[in-house]
């Protein structure tokens, strides 16, 4: 028997391996002209794994603390063998992951994969998206450079605008009234322990649900294929789709390598709380659409302070976004047009505002 078969037999005798992976063997992926979008979830997962691995490696040398954080990152970039590579991959992969997470969310939105019975998959997914942005926000501060310092200052300041709970929330985030070394320590704790813990649980739930419920079929196709089962075209997940996913993952690896080697992530200048904020400070690109929106809201709308209104509005939108599936019809033939319209608007808004925010002074 081949070595692989030996191992399988050994596992089966101890874990009931064959029964465990039986559903996986039966899993299929619907085939249609939009099937390529199904890769996005897997790529996001892959990039997350890359983050965990490179993150653990960085943990071996990184020191959290206002005195040493910047220098430890500088040490990683200059003295540690291939430290520049690990760190640059971590930074680039973070940005790519956030992008693919958004893309995955929008593709699910447009393909209406959030419909019954997959509401909880959507809920866990949106929560994961928020977590991923939290990862980005907390991780950005860790090198303790000027840009990160002031971006964190502005970001947490905006959180403080929420009525009633805003100020306590801000103090909780900052570990005090101002952004200091305590904030760095706290963000480090969030980034390497709290967020990964929550994310792991949600991710497992998300993946379990995907496994149990299978891959969703776009509504129109679902109607057609229910009426005419012989027209259904699908591909086995294992090994066919998985091999293709593997190709996508390898391409992602190549892209990461090029980005890390040709455009290494820069170090910046060590943060100095006493230096005035540089002009035109902006958050990272994935927060730009919110930031730009807040900048455009007039200082006072009616009697409400403009910024508070903006923050509350985004909070409301976030909440409704989580609950979106519950507004949708559970009949594939009668999906709601207004949700599609909303999806188009949301995509246009996020993309447009991000570009605007990038180009604005």
């Amino acid at each position: 028997m081949s070595p692989l078969r030996n191992v399988r037999s050994w596992l089966d005798q101890r874990f009931g391996w064959d029964d465990l992976i039986a559903p996986l063997r039966k899993k299929t992926v619907p085939l249609h002209r939009l099937s390529y979008w199904y890769f996005l979830g897997g790529i996001t997962l892959f990039l997350f794994v890359i983050q965990v691995l490179t993150g653990i490696l960085l943990l071996l040398y990184y020191r959290p603390g206002a005195n040493e954080a910047f220098e430890s990152v500088q040490y990683i970039m200059t003295r540690v063998q291939f430290g520049w590579l690990i760190r640059s991959i971590h930074s680039w992969s973070a940005n790519l992951m956030i992008f693919t997470a958004f893309a995955h969310m929008f593709s699910v939105l447009f393909l209406k994969a959030y419909r019954k019975p997959r509401e909880l998959t959507w809920v866990s997914g949106v929560l994961l998206l928020f977590l991923v942005m939290g990862f980005g926000f907390s991780g950005y501060l860790l090198p303790w450079n000027t840009l990160a310092f002031f971006a964190t200052k502005v970001g947490t300041e905006i959180t403080g605008q929420v009525p009633i709970i805003g100020k306590p929330m801000m103090i909780f985030l900052r570990g005090g009234e101002e952004v200091t070394g305590a904030t760095l320590t706290r963000f480090f704790g969030f980034h390497v322990a709290v967020l990964p813990g929550i994310a792991t649980v949600l991710l497992l739930l998300h993946l379990l649900l995907v496994q149990r419920l299978g891959i969703s079929i776009p509504p129109k196709l679902e109607v057609q294929w229910t009426a005419n089962p012989s027209a259904k075209r699908e591909m086995k997940f294992f090994p066919n789709f998985l091999l293709r996913e593997l190709m996508a993952w390898y391409v992602a690896l190549g892209v990461l390598g090029v980005l890390a080697a040709v455009f290494p992530w820069n170090l910046g200048v060590k943060a100095d709380p006493f230096v005035p904020a540089p002009a035109g400070i902006k958050p990272e690109w994935y927060f730009l659409f919110m930031f730009q929106t807040l900048k455009l809201i007039p200082p006072k709308v009616w009697f409400i302070d403009g910024e508070i209104l903006g923050v509350l509005a985004f909070g409301l939108v976030g909440l409704l976004w989580i609950l979106l599936p519950f507004f949708e019809s559970d009949q594939p033939s009668r999906t709601k047009r207004w949700i599609t319209g909303l999806a188009v608007f949301a995509l246009a808004y996020v993309a447009g505002m991000s570009v605007y925010g990038h180009l604005a002074k």
Binding site: W84, N240, R244, Y250, V262, P264
Partner: protein
């Protein structure tokens, strides 16, 4: 007439009570201030008799409790113009220009008096003034020269530390230029009137007025303020040496000092100018329009040859530093970390600055020492930059290898997929 007398008595009684009441009222209104009734009328009068309350409140004398009468005499407490401006009360009227230094000096040269207000304020201004060009001409009867109020202003005289004061360092040049840049006013005096125009183009002006560096020199720094006079041809380098100590030390020991003194040439000014001192450049040592050496020296002589050596050394070091900067810039923009080498470049630049200072010794051997030190540092940084570029290229090679491996896997996967699906 008894009735009239009674009425007169009543009248004067009423007037006394009214006046007393008014005085009490005025005292209450002027709470905390010395009564200065002069401004009641004079604040409403047009120039030249007008002094507004607002203007006078800026004056440091007013803030210290002095009144108009302190200088002009008279009675500042009285509302009656006749009483207030009575000669018997010592009223002087408009102070004649010829009296001004004496008048100001009557307090400001009295240490015991000034000590009551500001114990650390100097009291030698009048004495200094008498030694100045202004003071000497004034004593000889020239009333066009500056007296105290011309520079310090009057009625809104501010302390020199006040940025709005006419004698605050940032404003001094403007104050002096009011006369010294006025060609028609200065007609009849044998001095030029282009000093302010020249100074405005200088590095010192740039530092002081534009950058706000209060340590930069203005007219009074070199000429003195109360004892204002040009430093004297053979003492110029003493003045410059107060800040430019190293250059002056070098110059003192150099051959140029003896030569310039013998020819009654004003030291530093010969090459650098006095008012329009620009940023010196290595071109001073050249043969172009900015050349200073060649104004005196003969082409081809021993000194000219030394000049060539000096200029050559400086430009060699400058080139070396620029070259290292260039490669470090490229390395940095490719993502290489070169902060240590960049710090080393600062050291190299320090060497170049030092070499440029040593020029003032006019000795090629001394300058060469600094040049060599700088070249060593610059070359080390150049090597660091080259090393960074080598590493950068190695990274790209490594990337290429891994991309090839990835490519092979992709091809393999494609083939495998094709195979199992055929």
């Amino acid at each position: 007439m008894a009735i009239l007398q009674n009425k007169c008595w009543l009248f004067s009684a009423v007037r006394q009570v009214g006046l007393a009441g008014f005085v009490v009222l005025a005292a209450c209104l002027g709470f905390g201030q010395t009564t200065n009734s002069c401004l009641d009328c004079h604040s409403a009068l047009p120039d030249p008799l007008g002094v507004s309350q607002e203007k006078f409140s800026q004056d440091i004398h007013a803030q210290k409790g002095l009144t108009c009468a302190s200088c002009h005499g008279g009675d500042a407490t009285s509302d009656d113009p006749d009483k207030a401006m009575s000669r018997k009360a010592g009223w002087k009227g408009k102070i004649d220009r010829k009296q001004i230094p004496q008048l100001c000096g009557s307090c400001h040269s009295d240490p015991a008096y000034i000590r009551q207000f500001n114990p650390s304020l100097r009291t030698d201004q009048l004495g200094q003034y008498r030694t100045s060009v202004h003071g000497k001409r004034f004593a000889a009867g020239d009333t066009k020269v500056a007296v105290c109020t011309d520079c310090h202003s009057v009625h809104d005289l501010r302390a020199p530390s006040d940025p709005r004061s006419t004698v605050n360092p940032v404003n001094v040049a403007n104050t002096c230029s009011r006369c010294h840049a006025d060609a028609s006013y200065m007609k009849g005096y044998p001095i030029p009137t282009d000093q302010f125009a020249k100074y405005s183009t200088s590095v010192h002006h740039q530092a002081l007025a534009v950058r706000g560096d209060l340590s930069a020199p203005t007219c009074t720094t070199c000429h003195g303020n109360h004892g204002a006079a040009p430093p004297g041809v053979d003492k110029v380098q003493n003045v410059c040496s107060n800040c430019h100590a190293f250059q002056a030390q070098m110059y003192e020991k150099s051959t140029h000092k003896k030569a310039f003194d013998a020819a009654s040439l004003p030291g530093c000014v010969v090459c650098h100018g006095n008012h329009g001192i620009g940023h010196p450049s290595d071109a001073y040592l050249g043969t172009g329009p900015e050349a200073v050496c060649m104004r005196c020296h003969t082409p081809g002589d021993r000194c000219d040859q030394a000049r060539v050596g000096l200029q050559g050394g400086l430009s060699r070091l400058d080139e070396a530093i620029k070259g290292a900067d260039q490669i470090l810039r490229v390395a940095e923009s490719s993502g290489m970390e070169v902060s240590e080498a960049r710090l080393g470049q600062d050291q190299a630049r320090d060497s170049l600055t030092k070499a440029r200072v040593t020029i003032h010794s006019f000795r090629t051997d001394l300058v060469d020492q600094d040049i060599q030190a700088g070249l060593k540092i610059a070359s080390k940084n150049l090597q660091a930059g080259k090393g960074a570029m080598v590493e950068r290229n190695q990274r790209r090679v490594g990337l290429g290898i891994s991309l090839i491996a990835i490519g092979i896997v992709l091809v393999g996967l494609r083939l495998y997929i094709k195979k199992i699906e055929s």
